[in-house]
Assembly symmetry: C2
Homo-oligomer: 379 residues x 2
């Protein structure tokens, strides 16, 4: 199909909020939205198998272009049949552009209009990425959703600097789109543009307008969670989301706890990802309906009940808090495996409930009840 065809079908729309359900049509299958996407930086979600991700029901996971470009190299992955051939995951992959990692991980970076020069945080080697080359890398990975290269700015950036960065980002969207249209026909991955503009409403508006004019199949809200206070984050998530059209999927990076997810869904976000559910799992912090459970707590020593009695996941069916605490204390890999499975299953189940609530027109009620219990809980 033509690369520029619409990929989003909106199904239900909440009357009391911008929350909606829909389907993103992608090369490796449809994705029911709103959806949480687990992060698989190195072409694996840490501590779980692809079969477990399938069993839980995920339809899309993330991988990080920056990491895979440096190790093992995108040419090796291309030779293996892309990320799907390499990892065996049969669902969709979303890859980021690497821009955020260059911004946060690289030892050195220099942004010019042409692209970004940086030194690898692993071995200090020099690299140069352009909007075009990043499209090419993600095509090598055969990503189902690929992100444009953009320029991230920190919280305390002054308007003039933010304006300049946005200017480059808009130019890069245009160049990315051109390069993406020129990728070979077999490559059917979809390009997402990224809204920037720092914490300036006029720049955010300008950014969205430019993106709509350039017209990418999906849009991400970038430049959030860069050190700003929570109320500023919320304000800009909401005001930026309001500017986005209904006919494209909306993506926000770095959202992965129930409160932030419910907030994002409320403001009409369709997909989000975050390392927290998996990283917290490995650190012994587990989701329950009554809030976070710290498995290492003394009180779990002889607790032969499950992590969460209302959770139907395989870990909650089969294992006690006492056993999990023991595994955690003994640094057993099985702990990371089971904890990750549970946290991901918990979020996936929650997302199913969210979609049902939106379909039934009860999303606001669902969100309120969920939040009430999760914040009031002692566990």
């Amino acid at each position: 199909m033509p690369k520029t065809d619409s990929i989003f079908t909106q199904i239900h729309r909440d009357s009391a909020s911008r929350a909606r359900t829909g389907i993103i049509h992608l090369p490796h299958g449809d994705v029911q939205t709103p959806a949480f996407m687990p992060v698989g930086t190195n072409a694996t979600v840490k501590a779980v198998t692809k079969e477990w991700l399938e069993e839980i029901g995920f339809e899309i996971i993330l991988a990080n272009t920056y990491h895979l470009y440096l190790r093992p190299g995108t040419d090796i992955i291309e030779q293996a049949g892309g990320l799907h051939g390499f990892s065996g995951w049969k669902g969709n992959f979303l890859t980021d552009s690497g821009g955020y990692q260059v911004f946060s991980l690289a030892d050195f970076r220099k942004i010019t209009r042409e692209g970004v020069k940086f030194r690898s945080h692993i071995d200090g080697s020099s690299h140069f990425l352009t909007p075009e080359s990043v499209v090419g890398l993600q095509a090598q990975l055969n990503s189902d959703i690929q992100m444009q290269l953009d320029v991230c700015t920190g919280y305390d950036t002054e308007w003039k600097k933010a304006r300049e960065a946005l200017d480059i980002t808009i130019d890069w969207t245009r160049r990315a789109k051109r390069a993406w249209l020129e990728t070979k026909d077999e490559y059917q991955g979809k390009l997402f543009g990224i809204v920037q503009g720092n914490f300036y409403h006029d720049l955010r508006k300008e950014s969205v307008d430019a993106l709509l004019e350039i017209d990418t199949p999906g849009i991400a809200i970038g430049g959030l969670s860069v050190g700003e206070p929570q109320e500023i984050y919320r304000e800009f998530l909401e005001s930026t989301a309001e500017l986005l059209p209904d006919d494209k999927p909306r993506y926000v990076m770095g959202i992965g706890t129930p409160d932030y997810i419910l907030d994002a869904v409320y403001h009409g976000i369709d997909i989000f990802d975050c390392v927290l559910p998996t990283r917290n799992a490995r650190n012994g912090s587990l989701f329950t309906r009554d809030g976070q459970l710290s498995i290492k707590r003394e009180s779990n020593t002889r607790d032969f009940g499950p992590i969460d009695p209302s959770c139907t996941c395989r870990v909650c069916r089969d294992y006690s808090r006492a056993y999990l605490r023991h595994l955690y204390k003994q640094d057993e890999i099985l702990f990371s495996m089971l904890a990750t499975f549970h946290n991901l299953a918990f979020l996936h189940t929650m997302m199913g409930e969210v979609r049902t609530a939106i379909a039934q027109g009860t999303f606001t009620e669902y969100r309120n009840q969920f939040m009430k219990r999760i914040t009031g809980g002692v566990s």
Copy 2:
């Protein structure tokens, strides 16, 4: 059934060696022998789930009494319904007595006729174990096979010291048996006595004679792999195994590589365990028919074939050396998971072939061919 009933049925006997097939009848099901038993020190085999162990086909795994006694404590495991209730593993558990760990791990130990005093390697706390208390601990764990407390001696022990240690070990077998007969009826685990006697043929003979008189359901050959040269190990494995009767299962600890396994089977050993297959897996050393594969080797970078083309395990079906090498280099937990699965599946498959070869009277041939290929292989 009465605790002292025979638990072993010999099925086939090789004509050219002492190799044999049989069945050990245990509370959590029959065990086809010869069998390799994976080690699950902390009530989990590292980096694999119980479902994977079932999928591979294991009928018995190990757990370490010393570790579980110190953390989380045998009373907690008893309260959870024994090792089976605690871990969810439905097959058999063999537990050791802890004697070897006191010998090798504890910061301090003092052996008297009464028992062994030691300080925990974890927190320095003092503990005292007796042959009776160790039977009780393993009954709390609900072990299907439990081992007597014994006195281990190192390679360079003089005859007189070895004689004294053996004397205590024999006394402890007697006391263990008495205590075991007195465990409550619901506890159906089987006690194995341990042959000691260091590297002195007369003492080994005396040890076996005493064990046969005391009469435990199974017998283990202890005191090997304590620093002796390989030829001494072989000599004492063979000569001690020759003294053992046909009507009891024979167990040797610390055997887990194909060459040692085939040797042990040749000399009539029925069950063995070792941490090497799982530990080596985590360190990137994988079993193949052509010898050990070091996954980190540069040559695997673009090798899109499986670990072992003749292996039918899930990992060899689904993943390439290139992907596994990438996971290993990136320290991904998934590497440990997949590598452990493969190494265990490889050994389990090999054991099935060994049993078939014994049944068909072709074991010596099988062993020769296997060894020829494994030692001649370049991989």
